[in-house]
Subunit: 349 residues, 2 copies
DNA sequence: ATTAGCACTCGTTCCTCTTGAGTGCCAGCT
DNA sequence: AGCTGGCACTCAAGAGGAACGAGTGCTAAT
């Protein structure tokens, strides 16, 4: 048998045409259709022979005897890796990406969310953006405001132009000026510091000089601690857009499959784990079907690309759709979105 | 024929049992099943006669000759209005509602979002919470922070413990102390004022004394204007949870129906319009099928209840699910959620 | 190596038949 | 008058089977 890797020129060409055709109309492709569309001047019988070889190599298979062939995962893999002819991005799409992702009046969160929704809008599939893993979130400013009795609003601004706010319970009420003093002390001591560091220093501070501090100061340090602790870990680790677009593909016409996918999105855990792996890869990466190691991506593919802040890769974005997707268009869109997002982040400092 | 309204005792009872049965297992109910489950000591033939009456009145109908009967919209209407026996809320559910909705450390947004997600979790359907329409959103505090060149972060705290923030473009850069002064002036002038009012006063202010102000002051007033304008209108008018729960009902097994519904949720417009109407009603309200006037609620019902802040109705919440839903359980849940939400809002001031 | 030809396979569609749940009506019973 | 048993009737759902056609694999000829 031919388990030999050296695929003939013709076989390669036929696989390419077959996959392209199948992506277009979803039905199994027969030898006659192929002989008409391949541009080759050979009969369908010849093509049948070649197809037989391709099947033996596990690149295509027929759902039943009297149907045409459809690509296997392995077939898609080969196609994506070495024969997909990526289409250049359309001008409109490019300008849309640039205009709507960048934007001086946006903070990090908003920029990410634009990227996510554009990605889903252009590809007509579900999109995912993993929120940056900054090692260095630093404190820009902290502010306390009195609310009703015993409640204080803490507002924290980070170097990413992000505003986090949290309501704190305190044992006693503070006046506005007390709070202002507290915030002043805090800002003077910690401005520009890494949030992680601030957190740990506050703990030790409280331990060390407990006796030296008056009761009010203790309260204040405690409040600061709470305010700083709230922020980072609880923030959502990814944002998803356009899940419901997946309803338009017949691949997911059985409700069960669709439900599985939706669940996968809400579970997040596995999703994040998958995306995490892509941080290391350099450019666009494509997971086909269960390659990812997760059964819920049965008939799905995931196309991802990492994005940067400065020189460092800080996150990953991508789209999820049926394995039978227009890779030639999706790949460049994902690629470009990552690039535009990177430059938007960089121009924000 | 009998279009007479006075329904016999027996007919009422049979309708009730029929609807309950149909809600439980979804299949058309025949005369024999009914005669067994109704508790009445009459034969199936007698029941057939009564069912015939019910059909003549448009309360039930059979999908085809040889099937049992299912309730019509009108039948559901009567059932819901005058014979559903609401189940008391389970203790766990009640405490869950109270604990997770109230919570001193939550602001208005968070409280609403808890209500929404609990509602959907308990009923296993999609839930909607319309965000309060406050006439009186007042200014508690404004703060300006310098970002990179020519960009300023405005942080606005309202009387609802909500923090809104927006990045502003300015013609020239401001120092931190300039900004502090500006904020001071602003807070002293406008603290406690209605945001709408602040907005309009800023406009006239700028008009009136343009010449008297120095260039910096003009800039500042303009900034303040932007900061205040951003806030209110853009906020989402409703929050939705658990849409994907609807996938579990066979009523929506045809993708098209489901898609329509999902779209209705994203369109928001019609949804909000419907909910708006419920503000006037006093307690729980049920819309069955297309009663609402929107075709996308074809096989759906919507159960809503208004909630209060103080004595005033400020918003509406509800769930959306198949018409064939367990009204006896859903109605009290929606009712109670509205009540718990009201008291949570009130205890926040 | 390529191809025309042919037998074969198997999903799809359409038809028919059977089954069974459920109805409506009527004649007789209380 | 109201209830009931009996009976003919309807119709969806399911099973079985024939006709069709797209597509294959194999073989013998070029």
């Amino acid at each position: 048998m031919s388990s030999e890797l050296p695929l003939t020129e013709r076989a390669q060409h036929l696989l390419k045409v077959l996959v392209e055709h199948h992506i277009r109309d979803g039905k199994p492709v027969g030898s006659t259709t192929l002989s008409r569309n391949s541009g080759l001047k050979v009969s369908s019988a010849t093509i049948r022979n070649t197809m037989s070889d391709l099947e033996a190599m596990g690149l295509i298979h027929s759902p039943h005897t009297s149907a045409g062939r459809i690509p296997t995962q392995k077939g898609y893999r080969l196609f994506v890796d070495s024969m997909v002819a990526v289409q250049p991005l359309q001008r409109v799409e490019l300008t849309q990406l640039q205009q709507e992702i960048s934007g001086q009046e946006k903070n990090t969160q908003e920029v990410l969310s634009s990227a996510s929704s554009l990605l889903s809008q252009i590809t007509q599939m579900a999109s995912v953006v993993m929120v940056p893993r900054h090692e260095r979130v630093t404190l820009r400013h902290l502010e306390f405001l009195p609310l009703s009795e015993g409640r204080v609003l803490a507002i924290l601004v980070t170097n990413l132009d992000e505003v986090q706010n949290r309501i704190l319970q305190t044992d006693r009420s503070f006046t506005e000026s007390e709070l202002r003093q507290a915030a002043n002390w805090f800002n003077q001591t910690f401005e520009g510091e890494d949030l992680e560091l601030v957190r740990s220093r506050l703990v030790t501070e409280l331990e060390r000089s407990k006796s030296e501090m008056d009761e009010a100061m203790q309260q204040i340090v405690q409040m600061a601690q709470q305010a700083v602790t709230s922020g980072e870990p609880n923030r959502d680790q990814m944002m998803v857009s356009g899940r419901s677009k997946l309803m338009d593909y017949n691949e997911f016409s059985e409700m069960d499959r669709l439900r599985q996918l939706f669940n996968a999105f809400s579970e997040k855990r596995d999703m994040i784990h998958l995306l995490d792996q892509c941080m290391e890869a350099d450019g666009v990466q494509v997971f086909i079907g269960e390659e990812s190691g997760y059964q819920f991506f049965d008939e799905c593919s995931v196309v991802t690309a990492p994005y940067r802040h400065g020189d460092e890769v800080v996150g990953v974005l991508g789209v999820v759709g049926p394995t039978r997707m227009a890779y030639d268009r999706v790949i460049p869109v994902v690629d470009m979105t990552a690039k535009v997002l990177s430059s938007a982040l960089n121009s924000m400092g």
